[in-house]
Amino acid sequence: MRFLIPASGSGMNKMKIVKLPAPEGKNGFYHQTLWQSAISTIKKRPDAIISLVVILLFVLIAIFAKVLAPYPFMEIHFGYADLPPFWVKDSVIHATGDSRFLLGTDTLGRDLLSWGIYGTRTSIFLGFLSAPLIALAGTLYGLISGYASPKIDNILMRIADIFYAFPTIMIYIIIVLALHSTPVGKIWGGMLMMFLAVLSVGWVGIARLVRSSVLTIKNQEFIEAARSIGARPSRIIVNHIFPNILSTIIVWFTYMIPQIILVESILGYLGIGISSADQYAFFGVSWGGLFYIGRGVLRLQPVITILPAIGIILISLAFSFLGDALRDAFDPHNQAKLSALHDGKHVKNVELET
């Protein structure tokens, strides 16, 4: 079997003939759907695999926080205040670490490792639970806007534009301030309030993405074909358009989840994040809350700030690399994808566009 693969640039002179191995599928054709090939591309990317492992670890910590944490996070240990991590022999206030409190304690003698683990639970839950809901709202809006008549589309998009006119962080701050002292702000220690804040801005981004994808897809032949055999708009949207924008939404997730966690941390740092005075609250402390507590004792107890900082850096990096890999995996013109398709052996001498 022979393939003509256009080399870089537009010149025909760089076309090369490559011999490819005979495909192994049935009838001599590749039987790979977009999803199968995307998964096989991801499997060949070590950075994506490592990222997935890191994300999975965080999710496991979040789910099994209660099992992993050595103490309940609010438990106060008298006489063990302001301890440094166990390997430190002489801290700023000349205290020596205690192996019972692996990462030390705060001013009230609360175990910092437990704080970190419970904080991870809140932040990860917030990110992973609110992103799908935001995606749902934004996708619906974008689908309607993209598929509707240009007039309705115009109105819907102008409404979305208003949200872009303000600095996003100000919208978060205003919403959280507005809800902070109301009953809504108390639900799940402020989780609901934080979710509403990220929802208020988050849906606009995904709605725009979905809308522009729909606009490019809806004029293609296969949609016209579906319409000509009498498919209803709902069927066209669900069965024909939605599968084609799913990859866009998945890549968006890898951007949004760390973003939500970061927003919560920033608001927490400003003192208006998730916090609960109830020591049995499921979402009692978050990474943002840790930043707020750590802010005042940066010199005395830097661990309080370092823990959530490491968490956010790892989560952001993991999702960023995973997002890059996914974007490549879903891109049908990608080099890595092509070489994965051809097993990478026979196309090495061909210059492909990067």
Binding site: G9, F166, I173, I174, L177, L262, A309
Partner: protein
């Protein structure tokens, strides 16, 4: 559009719980009523909004012109008008020392760092594609894009100021502080932009490198330097110019958290503070300034784009 934005902001800020006077503690009815009357807060919201935009009679029945004359109103929590707080108008201090001036300078330094270092790195990475340099630069830019500047700022404060005592990061007075205190905030602020600039430069250079006119230039026997400087750069930098305008405005206006973190006397910290304080007129004034800056940036970008890329001009004719 501007009026809609303002109206939305006006409505939102007035629905926030607590009045601007909440921070003064318990207050008797008379004092509250006097303050409300003094700032016109006793009138219906629609009247307040009209007063703000067009102007209206104050409690002493003197007509003062509103936003359309450039008057941003009295600050509710600070002495003086909003334009005085932001731009030092009517004071004998220079604009440089105003809130706007500080944000402008910080944003500009961050911009210099991001583009001054990002463009050469991006070019180097593209010219030496798939070499060690390329991989290192690519890795740096991926990491720099992923790490939030908020976290970077915290980590730097912790390491440089707390751990090593290397530099003063949080000076007590910014106007008298030595110039090196600007380094860390500017670096933190420009960090993510820096990463984007590297990626953008690299991508647009790679696009240009394989163009036919570059091959023609090489074939003519031009020196490599001229090929790179004249043929590649002048074309590869066009996307960067369009990116530069919004990026600069973003850097000047987008430093809310970083300014708050470093105690920097700029507009971003003022914005956060005014919302928390419910200083209605200051919030609205800042919203106006931000929206104006964004509009100006977009107009400048459109103009430069047409100027730089003749294909667009031809296309329009």
């Amino acid at each position: 559009m501007m009026v809609i934005i303002l109206a939305v902001m006006f409505a939102i800020i007035h629905t926030l719980p607590d009045s601007p006077w909440a921070a003064y503690g318990r207050m008797d009815q008379n004092a509250r009523a006097t303050l409300d009357r003094r700032f016109g807060l006793d009138k219906p919201l629609v009247v307040q909004f009209v007063n703000y935009v067009i102007g209206g009679k104050s409690a002493e029945s003197i007509f003062t012109c509103g936003l359309i004359c450039g008057n941003l109103g009295q600050s509710l929590r600070q002495r003086g008008s909003v334009q005085m707080i932001l731009f030092n108008t009517g004071l004998d201090q220079p604009l440089k020392q105003s809130k706007f001036g500080y944000s402008l300078r910080l944003g500009f330094y961050a911009f210099l760092f991001a583009f001054g270092l990002g463009i050469p790195l991006g070019i180097a990475s593209a010219l030496k594609q798939n070499t060690a340099i390329d991989y290192v630069v690519k890795f740096i830019s991926s990491v720099a894009l992923a790490v939030p500047s908020f976290i970077l700022g915290l980590v730097l404060i912790m390491i440089l100021a707390n751990g090593l005592n290397l530099i003063v990061i949080l000076p007590s007075s910014w106007s008298k502080a030595p110039p090196e205190v600007w380094v860390v905030p500017a670096l933190v602020l420009g960090f993510n932009t820096f990463a984007s600039v590297i990626k953008l430069t690299r991508n647009s250079m790679l696009e240009v490198i394989n163009q036919d006119y570059v091959r023609t230039a090489r074939a003519k026997g031009l020196s490599e330097r001229i090929v790179v400087e004249v043929h590649m750069l002048s074309n590869a930098l066009i996307p960067l110019v369009t990116y530069a305008g919004p990026a600069l405005v973003e850097l000047i206006t987008g430093a809310f958290i970083i300014e708050t973190m470093f105690g920097f006397p700029g507009m971003g910290r003022e914005y956060v503070r005014s919302v928390v304080d419910k200083d209605y007129s200051l919030v609205l004034g800042l919203t106006v300034v931000y929206a104006l800056l964004m509009t100006v940036a977009n107009i400048i970008v459109d103009a430069t784009y047409a100027f730089l890329d003749p294909r667009i001009r031809v296309g329009n004719e």
